[in-house]
């Protein structure tokens, strides 16, 4: 479709938390921008989308996605990962740097940018590594990376173990106004663990990953953020103590934000008891009390955002002995639907609150001008139906890998159109009408 063509989306429920909008209305898009928002817009446009009975929201911003480029195109590519994003209503992703090689220097950023330019279906922002090779030994050149357009740094998959180095990274990031994202895990404690430590690890005869290995490191990271006055974002929070620590830190006025992923509030450790490797992720699925605390944290605003931690792995890496299988699950295509099912349908968040957690808040945290339906904004828009169901199966996932924790589940949200930069990048022919 030509960028300059106009699209009119008519008669849907417009939810735009940035403008405190939740009302039936129309949106007119032209030249890749939002031109008009209101009631009964009448204009000649090349495409009219009847959105009656549908919900229209700003495109989702998923700030925790592993696109696997460069190096592991067998798991996922920029093309396949962003196609999955579009199908899930995600129009902006933050690509994590634990690739092969890691995104730890301007050359590698350019390598990724080239691939994005050639093949991305939605917007891809880049997160670079904190340390060279993600080894936790030597800092990357944060200033240079920033000049290449990097919006955040993280050694995701690992924590920077050395306090002094982490403090230096935070101070430098503060100078350069780059966000630091922490994978808070003390591997000294969690080493070789594969499931939640406790009854689950004992029952399964597997080594455990304690909650302490997470919250102990969350505590340190908060302390270092306070000391350096840097902005810190804590990735994939999974346990109750972490939620409490973040609550306390926010109360003190620290510039800390926090994230969780749908599997941490939709599933408990009971799901892993059958040794299904699609239930193996790091941090691991936790107990009922943790799930309750995560949900409460989302409701209270302690947890600011939901991200998928989309982590594709091939069948060969998953269909093996549990201990040896890779950690991680895909989630771009299911995150909106799972979140709706667990949070909106269960009365924990309203629709506008959910949209805030999945679009506006991550955009604010990353400092990118996204997540709103304001006039003049880039037209990144999702139209979905909240009263239809679909069943997750390997056949209907477009990600290159099929390692979803939600296979076989009926989900209550069907994305019908995803518009990015004013173009329809995904439309669901099967479920529409």
């Amino acid at each position: 479709m030509n960028k300059n063509n106009k699209i009119l989306i008519k008669g849907g429920r417009l939810i735009d938390p940035a403008n405190k909008l939740d009302d039936i209305g129309d949106i007119l898009i032209g030249a890749g921008k939002i031109i008009q928002v209101g009631k009964d817009i009448k204009v000649n446009s090349s495409l009219v989308i009847d959105a009656s009975g549908r919900i229209i929201v700003p495109g989702l911003v998923d700030m925790h996605v592993h696109l696997r480029e460069p190096g592991r195109k067998d798991k996922e590519t920029v093309a396949s990962g962003t196609k999955a994003a579009a199908k899930g209503g995600v129009t902006s992703v933050l690509a994590m740097p634990n690739t092969q090689p890691a995104i730890d220097c301007p050359e590698n950023v350019r390598l990724l940018k080239e691939s994005i330019k050639n093949s991305a279906a939605v917007r891809v922002f880049i997160c670079a590594a904190v340390t060279k090779g993600r080894k936790g030994e030597e800092l990357t050149d944060i200033a240079k990376l920033k000049k290449e357009g990097v919006v955040a740094i993280s050694d995701d998959g690992s924590s920077v173990d050395c306090d002094k180095l982490m403090l230096k990274a935070l101070s430098k990031a503060r100078e350069e106004k780059v966000l630091v994202i922490c994978h808070s895990e003390d591997k000294g404690l969690s080493k070789n663990g594969v499931v939640n430590l406790g009854l689950t690890s004992t029952r399964m005869g597997l080594r455990g990953i304690s909650r302490e290995s997470e919250y102990g490191r969350v505590k340190r990271d908060i302390f270092l953020a306070q000391k350096s006055k840097a902005r810190l974002h804590i990735a994939h929070v999974s346990c109750r103590e972490s939620v409490e620590l973040i609550f306390q830190a926010k109360k003190k006025g620290l510039k800390i934000t926090a994230e969780t992923a749908p599997h941490y509030f939709a599933l408990t450790e009971d799901s892993v008891l059958g040794y299904d490797t699609n239930m193996k992720m790091n941090p691991p699925l936790r107990g009922k009390e943790d799930v309750a605390a995560i949900k409460q944290g989302l409701a209270d605003g302690v947890i600011d955002i939901i991200a998928s931690d989309h982590a594709p792995h091939t069948k060969n890496e998953k269909d093996i002995e549990f201990e040896q299988a890779e950690f991680g699950v895909i989630g771009l295509e299911t995150e909106l639907a799972v979140s709706a099912r667990e949070l909106v349908h269960k009365g924990i968040l309203s629709w506008p609150q959910l949209v805030e957690k999945m679009s506006l808040n991550p955009a604010k945290i990353l400092g990118i001008n996204k997540g709103t339906l304001s006039l003049g904004q880039d037209a990144d828009i999702v139209i979905f139906s909240a009263d239809k169901k679909w069943k997750v199966s390997e056949d209907n996932l477009v990600s290159k890998s099929k390692n979803s924790a939600f296979l076989g589940l009926d989900l209550p949200v069907v994305v019908e159109y995803t518009v990015c930069r004013g173009e329809v990048v995904y439309s669901d022919e099967v479920y529409r009408h």
Partner: protein
């Protein structure tokens, strides 16, 4: 009635299923006392022993059990491949299935290996020990021996002593005994006591004398120093001192306390020789009963498969 394709662990079994295995084993025990120690129950069936860990007694016990049921037995001593090189467990299982075998008896160092194999083949899988997870037939033969010796399980006080953290035998025993109404005490050095034991239905003790006091039976686990990652004990003599079952300690316990051990025994480490060979020991009876229990398990899973096939044809 037994309808399961596989036997993967005792955790998922009901009390009735446990009792069915035990009563079936009782009727099979007599076979081993006959002049011709064979019944035709599994004639024409093929049992494959797929062992990724060295094991003599369990493998031989399964082999004898299968042969006394007239099955053909194939033993495969497999090299636990590092998953990314060599054939995967699933591929190996599918190849065995393609050979038209009927039952795979699998021993593997990875917890969950038997469950994974069972999910990926249509033939029966019997878990002969997976990592630290479960060793159901060992616990069944322990329970069978207890019942045979003491006449019941309900209400018995059974202590399990040793490296609980890394013991599949302990886990299977806890599940099985608790379901059948025994009072289970688990005794280990703190560092070898895994979390969640009480939620599994057992009581915790850190004092061997306390655990032996009042017990009707004690099951002594093999202390595997080669697997002790945490170096809980500097040497084996300290272990005997702190947790070993000795004649001296037994004197303070019930006079007719039953002493069990899954073997192989480290004499002088977890148990002294006098105890192993003493009047309270039923260690060799356990070995004999292992055959009857494994015959029962092989018979039940084979029968369930046959009735599934019949149903499919109807």
């Amino acid at each position: 009635m037994w309808i399961r394709k596989d036997l993967l662990g005792l955790e998922e079994l009901s009390k009735e299923e446990l009792e069915l295995i035990l009563s079936t084993a009782e009727s099979f025990k007599e076979v081993s006392t006959r002049e011709i120690k064979k019944v035709p129950a599994l004639r024409g069936k093929t049992v494959v022993n797929l062992f990724y860990e060295p094991s003599t007694r369990t493998r031989v016990s399964f082999e004898v059990a299968a042969k006394r049921l007239s099955a053909d037995v194939i033993n495969i001593a497999a090299e636990a491949s590092s998953a990314r090189k060599g054939e995967t467990l699933i591929d190996t299982g599918r190849n065995i299935e393609a050979l038209k075998a009927d039952i795979i008896v699998v021993r593997h160092n990875a917890s969950g290996a038997a469950a994974m194999l069972a999910r990926n083949v249509n033939i029966s899988v019997v878990n002969a020990g997976d990592g630290w997870h479960e060793h159901p037939t060992q616990a069944l033969l322990d329970i069978f021996t207890l019942k045979e010796t003491l006449g019941r399980i309900e209400g018995l006080k059974v202590s399990i002593v040793g490296d609980i953290a890394h013991s599949r035998v302990a886990r299977s025993n806890i599940w099985g005994l608790a379901k059948l109404g025994a009072q289970v005490t688990v005794c280990a050095p703190r560092i070898l006591m895994p979390p969640g034991i009480e939620e599994m239905g057992a009581r915790i003790s850190y004092d061997i004398d306390e655990a032996l006091h009042d017990a009707d039976a004690v099951n002594v686990l093999r202390m595997q120093f080669e697997r002790d990652e945490q170096k809980a004990f500097p040497n084996q003599f300290e272990y005997l001192e702190a947790f070993g079952v000795t004649q001296e300690r037994l004197k303070k316990a019930k006079k007719d306390i039953i002493v069990m051990h899954p073997g192989p025994i480290n004499r002088g480490i977890e148990m002294s020789s006098e105890v192993a060979d003493g009047a309270n020991s039923v260690i060799l009876e356990q070995v004999t009963n292992g055959i009857a229990v494994r015959m029962a398990v092989l018979f039940l899973v084979a029968q369930a498969s046959d009735s599934r096939k019949t149903e499919a044809h109807e």
